[in-house]
C-alpha cells in the first residue's frame, strides 16, 4: 500500500516535471532569428523582401558583409535614419552579424518590376550610364562594381535588384550630399559626386525596371576586379 502510494507519487511528480518543461517551452518565444528580427519586419517585410513602402529597401539575399556594414553604420550614427539608429544602438557586433547572415540567407522571389513613370529617352540614358558609364565624366558603369547581372558580389557589394526608383534615387542623393558615407575610400561618394540630378533620375528609373535574373545570388568574392578602390570591399 505504502509502496504503491510512493510509486504513484513518483509518477505524478514525473508527469508534473514533464508538464513544467512543456509549459516552459510553450511560454517562451521561438528560439529563432525570425522571431528576433520581428522589429525589422514592419518596414522590410517578414523575410526582408521589402514592403509596399518604396523607401524601405529589400534586404533579402544581399551579401551578408554589405548588410553587416550597414548595420554597423546605423548603430554608430554614421548612416543617419533615426528609427534604425535607435533600434540598433545597444546591440553587440556578433548579433548584428547574425542579423546580416539571416537576411542574406533569405531568398523570397524578387518583385515584378513596376512600370516606369519616366520617358523612353530617360530610360535609355539610365541604361547607358548603368551599363557603360560615362568615361568623359569619370562615371563608371554600375555593372562594373555591382556585377553584370546587378546581383552584387560577396562580401560587400550589394545587388541593386528589387529596389524601387525612389529609394535608389534617395540613396544616390544622400551620397552626393554626404549624408550617407561608407568606409574610406568611399567609392559611392566619388561616383555619386559626378552624377547630375537628371543622371540620378535616369539610373534609378532604369535599375527599377530590371527583371529578376535566373540566379539572383551575389557572385563570389573575386569574380571580377573593381575598377577602383572601395573601402566597403577591400580587394
Amino acid at each position: 500500500m505504502f509502496a504503491r502510494t510512493a510509486a504513484s507519487a513518483a509518477v505524478i511528480v514525473t508527469l508534473a516535471a514533464f508538464d513544467g518543461a512543456a509549459a516552459q517551452t510553450a511560454n517562451q518565444p521561438p528560439d529563432t532569428m525570425a522571431a528576433r528580427v520581428e522589429a525589422c519586419t514592419p518596414c522590410h517585410g517578414n523575410k526582408g523582401e521589402g514592403t509596399s513602402d518604396v523607401y524601405f529597401p529589400r534586404l533579402a539575399g544581399k551579401p551578408a558583409g554589405y548588410l553587416y556594414n550597414q548595420l554597423l553604420a546605423f548603430r554608430s550614427g554614421r548612416r543617419k535614419y533615426p528609427p534604425m539608429n535607435y533600434l540598433l544602438e545597444f546591440l553587440p557586433d556578433p548579433y548584428l552579424e547574425a542579423m546580416a547572415e539571416y537576411f542574406a540567407s533569405e531568398h523570397p522571389p524578387l518583385p515584378q518590376p513596376a512600370p516606369s513613370e519616366v520617358s523612353k529617352d530617360v530610360l535609355a540614358q539610365g541604361e547607358l550610364l548603368a551599363t557603360s558609364g560615362d568615361a568623359g565624366r569619370n562615371i563608371p558603369a554600375c555593372v562594373s562594381c555591382h556585377g553584370p547581372g546587378l546581383t552584387g558580389m560577396q562580401p560587400g557589394i550589394p545587388g541593386l535588384l528589387g529596389l524601387r526608383a525612389p529609394y535608389i534615387s534617395a540613396q544616390l542623393g544622400a551620397w552626393r550630399y554626404g549624408t550617407r558615407t561608407a568606409k574610406s575610400p568611399d567609392c559611392m561618394q566619388l561616383v555619386a559626386g559626378h552624377l547630375t540630378e537628371a543622371d540620378v533620375t535616369a539610373v534609378a528609373a532604369w535599375l527599377a525596371t530590371r527583371p529578376a535574373p535566373a540566379n539572383p545570388a551575389p557572385v563570389p568574392k573575386g569574380t571580377y576586379a573593381l575598377p577602383f578602390g572601395c573601402g566597403s570591399q577591400p580587394n
Binding site: R36, A39, Y86, L87, L91
Partner: protein
C-alpha cells in the same frame, strides 16, 4: 674568495628583493587599474566621454540640454588636451567638488552631485585606470550654450541650491549590503540624474530624490524608484531586480531607451555581489502605496470608444507576443498586465514603445535580445491612443486612457 662570494650572494639577494618588490608594485598597480576600470564602468563614464565612433574617453560627445549643447571633455592621459598633467588630488577634487584643478566651475551635466559621494580610494583607482589608457590628442570642443547659461558664474547659484559636497556616510542601522548598494546607486551609479525630477533650473531637491521625472530633451519618463506605483521595486524579488539590471530583461519587465544604455555600458559589467547590493538597496527605498483609483481626464464616452477600438488593435498586432491576457512570455516578451511601467501616471513610455518599438540592450546575459516592432508607420494616432488606453486599463491594470493628441506629440520625439 669567501668575501667575494658573499658579496655576490648579497648582490643577488638585493637584486631579487628589488625584482620581487617591482613585481609586487606591478601587481598592485595592475590591481588598482583593474579596479578602476570596474569602477569607471559602474560610473558609466564612457556613455558621456566617448563619442560615437570616437576614441575611448576622448570626449567630444554632444549632450543636448534645455540650456544648449554641451560637449564632453577628453579624459584620456594626453598632457595637452586630456588629463595627462593632472594629479590624483586634482582628479579627486573634480569628482568630489565639481571644480577643475584650477578652481573653475564644472557644468552639473557632469554628475558631481553624485560623484561627491565616491571615496578617495575609489577616485584614485579610477584615476589610475584613466592614466593607463592610450592618450588621445583631441582638443575639447567649446560648449554651445544660450545666454545667460553660457556664463559659468551661474553655476555658483546652482551649487548653492542643489549641491551638497560630501563622501558617502554608511547608515549603521542598515546591513553592509544595503550600504554598498546605497553607495553605488547614489554615488558612481548617479541614478538620481534621471530618476529624480529636474526643475526648471536643472536641479533636484534632496526631498525629491528618486521620485521620477521626464528626462529633458529625450522625452522618456524615468520612473520613480521609490513609488511602487512606478518603478518602485518593493514587491519585486531580488532575482527579478538583478536580472533586469544585469541582463536588461526580467520576469517583470524589460529596459528600453536611456535605461538600455545604462545596462549596456555599465550595469551588465557589475559583479553579482554589487548587483545584488543595488537590488537590496533599491528594494529597501521603495515606499509602499496603495494603487490610486483610476481616473481619467478624457470624457467617459471618448475613453470607452478608445478602449473598444484598442482591444481590436491589440488582438491584431500585440496579442501574438504579449498574450490575449497581457501575460507576455517573460523575460523576452514582457508582460503588460500588472506591469508598473504601463500603469504609471505618465503614459510617455508605453506610447513611445508602441510608436518606436525597440531592442533591449545586448548583454552578456542576453546577447541576442528580441525586438519589439515599431508601429508608427502602421497605426494612426487614434489607434496608438486606443491600444495604449486598452493596455493601461485591461486585465486589472489601473492606468488612465490617453488621447490621440498625446500619441501624435510623441511621433516627433527625438529617437536618439
Amino acid at each position: 674568495m669567501g668575501s667575494k662570494l658573499s658579496i655576490a650572494i648579497l648582490t643577488f639577494a638585493a637584486l631579487t628583493t628589488v625584482a620581487q618588490a617591482q613585481e609586487k608594485t606591478g601587481d598592485k598597480s595592475s590591481d588598482i587599474i583593474a579596479r578602476g576600470e570596474y569602477l569607471a564602468r559602474a560610473g558609466d563614464c564612457t556613455a558621456c566621454h566617448t563619442a560615437p565612433e570616437g576614441r575611448l574617453f576622448a570626449g567630444g560627445r554632444a549632450m543636448p540640454t534645455p540650456f544648449g549643447t554641451l560637449y564632453t571633455s577628453n579624459i584620456t592621459p594626453d598632457p595637452e588636451t586630456g588629463i595627462g598633467k593632472w594629479s590624483a588630488d586634482d582628479f579627486y577634487k573634480t569628482m568630489h567638488s565639481g571644480r577643475y584643478p584650477d578652481g573653475g566651475l564644472i557644468y552639473p551635466a557632469m554628475p558631481f552631485a553624485s560623484y561627491t559621494k565616491v571615496t578617495r580610494a575609489d577616485s584614485d583607482a579610477i584615476f589610475a585606470y584613466l592614466r593607463s589608457i592610450p592618450p588621445v590628442n583631441q582638443k575639447n570642443r567649446p560648449h554651445d550654450l544660450r545666454f545667460p547659461y553660457d556664463n559659468r558664474q551661474l553655476i555658483l547659484g546652482w551649487r548653492t541650491l542643489f549641491f551638497r559636497e560630501g563622501e558617502f556616510k554608511p547608515d549603521p542601522t542598515k546591513s553592509a549590503e544595503w550600504n554598498r548598494g546605497a553607495y553605488l546607486v547614489e554615488g558612481l551609479g548617479h541614478c538620481g540624474m534621471c530618476h529624480s525630477p529636474i526643475n526648471a533650473l536643472g536641479g533636484t531637491s534632496q526631498s525629491d530624490a528618486f521620485k521620477g521625472g521626464l528626462i529633458p530633451m529625450q522625452n522618456w519618463y524615468a520612473p520613480s524608484l521609490t513609488s511602487n506605483r512606478e518603478a518602485g521595486l518593493g514587491d519585486w524579488s531580488i532575482k527579478d531586480i538583478t536580472d533586469l539590471l544585469q541582463t536588461g530583461v526580467s520576469a517583470r519587465g524589460v529596459v528600453y531607451g536611456p535605461m538600455a544604455e545604462v545596462v549596456h555600458n555599465s550595469l551588465q559589467y557589475l559583479s553579482d555581489e554589487d548587483t545584488r547590493a543595488m537590488a537590496v538597496y533599491l528594494k529597501g527605498i521603495s515606499e509602499p502605496s496603495p494603487p490610486p483609483p483610476a481616473s481619467s481626464a478624457l470624457p467617459t464616452t471618448e475613453s470607452s470608444l478608445l478602449i473598444s477600438l484598442g482591444k481590436t488593435v491589440y488582438d491584431k498586432n500585440c496579442a501574438s507576443c504579449h498574450g490575449t491576457q497581457g501575460e507576455g512570455k517573460p523575460p523576452h516578451w514582457p508582460p503588460l498586465a500588472n506591469n508598473q511601467s504601463i500603469e504609471m501616471q505618465s503614459a510617455v513610455n508605453p506610447i513611445r514603445m508602441v510608436l518606436n518599438g525597440g531592442y533591449p540592450p545586448g548583454t552578456k546575459g542576453n546577447p541576442m535580445p528580441y525586438g519589439m516592432p515599431p508601429f508608427a508607420g502602421l497605426l494612426s494616432d487614434n489607434e496608438v491612443a486606443a491600444v495604449v488606453s486598452y493596455i493601461r486599463t485591461a486585465w486589472g491594470n489601473r492606468g488612465t486612457p490617453v488621447s490621440a493628441r498625446e500619441a501624435n506629440e510623441l511621433r516627433s520625439a527625438p529617437l536618439n
